[in-house]
Structures are given as C-alpha cells and as structure tokens.
C-alpha cells in the first residue's frame, strides 16, 4: 500500500482549512522555506499511524499538536487536530476489502485521540493490528526523520551491529 493522499486540518502549523496533498506512486519531492511546515507533514503521517510519543512528534504534549492560531492571519486556536491518510490497497496487503483504505486520527484539547478506519471509529489497538499486517507502523524503517543521516554518520561499530541485530 502506498500513500494516495494526506489531509491535514488544525495539525501543527496547518490551519482550520483542510490542506490536501495528493500523491502518486514514484518519486515526489517536497520543498519550501525553513519553518514552512515540511517536517510537520512527516509528523502528521507518524501521528495518523498511531505514534504516541509527543517528543517524536516534536511537541511538548498532545495539545501542542493542535494549531495554536495566528494573530496576523486572524485565526483562532483550533479545537482539534485531524490527519487523514488515504492508502492505495490494490495489492490487498491491508486486510480490509476496499482498494482504498482511509486511516484518520484526531486529537482534542483534552489529549484524547479518535481513530477511524474507512470512516468508522476504531480503537487504537485494533487499527495498529490491521496496519501492522501490511508492515505499516509509526516505527518502521521507512520513515527517515530529519537529522537521522547526521546521527548515522557518527555511530560506532557496536551500534551498527545493533541496528542489523534489531532487524532480524
């Protein structure tokens, strides 16, 4: 399953109007100025895949994931942050009988999260089970965060062995 669309609403620097990023298979580049919100899109994908560590999402707590408003743009703080990811499931690896699988997560100011699979509410445990069948998780090796390469250039031989050991 690859990503067909990412929708962000009230998530970090993304405001109350839903922003949609339609993606194809193949090689897509995302570029833009410093601080424009590129890495926030990566955080959004980790968030929708159930990432619990707010530190990994670079936020002090769950409430800080919600758009904090903008005086200059005349926008209030959002009530919730919502991310929707549409996967292409034509290879059927996600054990759901639709060729497009939609996963969404929203977090409210009280820190509570609501997960949905194809629009229907589902528990976090259940959705993680479904996604893990297709190898989808917020901790899998296929998302390389900013700064990882720099850290990898400084690892010791022992750490390098541990990386391979953890894979098996």
């Amino acid at each position: 399953p690859y990503i067909k669309k990412i929708e962000l609403k009230g998530f970090k620097s993304f405001g109350p109007q839903t922003v949609k990023v339609a993606l194809d298979k193949g090689f897509t580049a995302i570029t833009g100025p410093n601080g424009s919100g590129k890495t926030n899109i990566v955080d959004a994908v980790l968030f929708a895949l159930g990432e619990l560590s707010t530190r990994r999402l670079r936020a002090e707590n769950a409430a800080k994931l919600i758009f904090h408003g903008s005086e200059k743009a005349g926008l209030e703080r959002a009530k919730k942050a919502k991310v929707v990811i549409q996967f292409d499931n034509t290879d059927g690896r996600i054990p759901v009988d639709t060729t497009t699988v939609t996963v969404s997560r929203e977090v409210h100011r009280n820190g509570q999260s609501v997960y949905r699979l194809n629009g229907r509410r589902i528990s976090r445990t259940h959705i993680l089970e479904v996604l893990s069948v297709a190898g989808l998780s917020s901790t899998s090796q296929n998302i390389i965060m900013q700064g990882t390469i720099t850290r990898l250039t400084e690892i010791s031989p022992t750490e390098r062995r541990k990386i391979i050991e953890d894979l098996v």
Binding site: T28, D91, T150
Partner: protein, 154 residues
C-alpha cells in the same frame, strides 16, 4: 539466532556495495565484522572506497562522504525489510551537487516499484522528481501547492 543474523549481514553487505556504487559512480563499500567467530561480541565496521581513492574505514572519511555511506546503508537495509513507501527528510543536506544528482537518479530507478516522498532544499533533487510540492507558510499558517516547475523557493 547466529545463522539468521549472518544471513541478514550477508544480504545487507551485498546491497550496501550495490547502492554505494550507484551513489558514487563506481565506488565500493563493505561491512566487516570485528569478531567473525562470535558476531554478537564485536561491532561491524564499514570500509568505503570512493572512485579513484583508496579504501578507508568510514570514520576517516569527510563529513559528506560519511553522509553518502549512511544513505547507502539506509538503502541496503530497505531491501531487507521492504516497504511500499518511503519518506526521507533532508537526507541530502551534506551532499555536494554530484552526489545529490546521483541520489536523485537512484530514486528515479527505485521509484518504478516503490513510492518515495523526499523533503529537500536542493535544486538538483527537485529538478529530477516526477512530481513536486511546495510548502509555504503565511503568517504562521502552512499551505501546499503542487508545481512541477517550481524553483526551489527562496
């Protein structure tokens, strides 16, 4: 456990050589077990050979050369636990223009069977992508526009 580990090691080592060669245009990289008899009691070193240069331990290479080796290592591991999409956030920050465009060529080749979403500030990378999105902020609010011929925003 040892057998499974050694199989993984061999496969990743082969892949490392393949990807490093593609990224450098003819170089070679290999992994070396510090203690082949008992792999878990030692570490794994990496030897890199850039085109027309001698083979050295990766820790003695330059900052950018070590970045190239790290990217090759990430690709080598990828084949071991394949996924259908990858998100790479500024993995090209310390690469010079030659290595960025080699990496872009590699991504184009691999993109036939895998989806790559690559965050970058480098024009050589943006220019080779099949699709380009520009992210911009206005008064602290982010937005995204699709644009193939987008210049790297300044």
């Amino acid at each position: 456990k040892r057998k499974v580990f050694m199989e993984a090691f061999e496969k990743i080592n082969d892949n490392l050589g393949k990807y490093f060669s593609k990224l450098t245009g003819g170089g070679n990289a290999t992994l070396k077990l510090e203690n082949p008899e008992d792999p878990f009691s030692g570490g794994i070193d990496m030897l890199v050979q850039f085109p027309r240069k001698p083979s050295i331990v990766v820790s003695g290479a330059s900052g950018g050369e070590r970045s190239v080796a790290a990217v090759a290592f990430i690709f080598a591991i990828k084949d071991f636990t394949p996924a259908s999409f990858y998100i790479l956030d500024e993995i090209d920050a310390h690469l010079d223009a030659f290595h960025v465009s080699r990496l872009a060529d590699l991504l184009l080749e691999e993109a036939e069977k895998t989806q790559f979403i690559v965050i970058t500030l480098k024009p050589e990378m943006v220019n080779k992508a099949q699709k380009v999105y520009g992210v911009y902020g206005r008064n602290g609010v982010s937005n995204v526009i699709a644009a193939k011929f987008l210049e790297v925003p300044s």
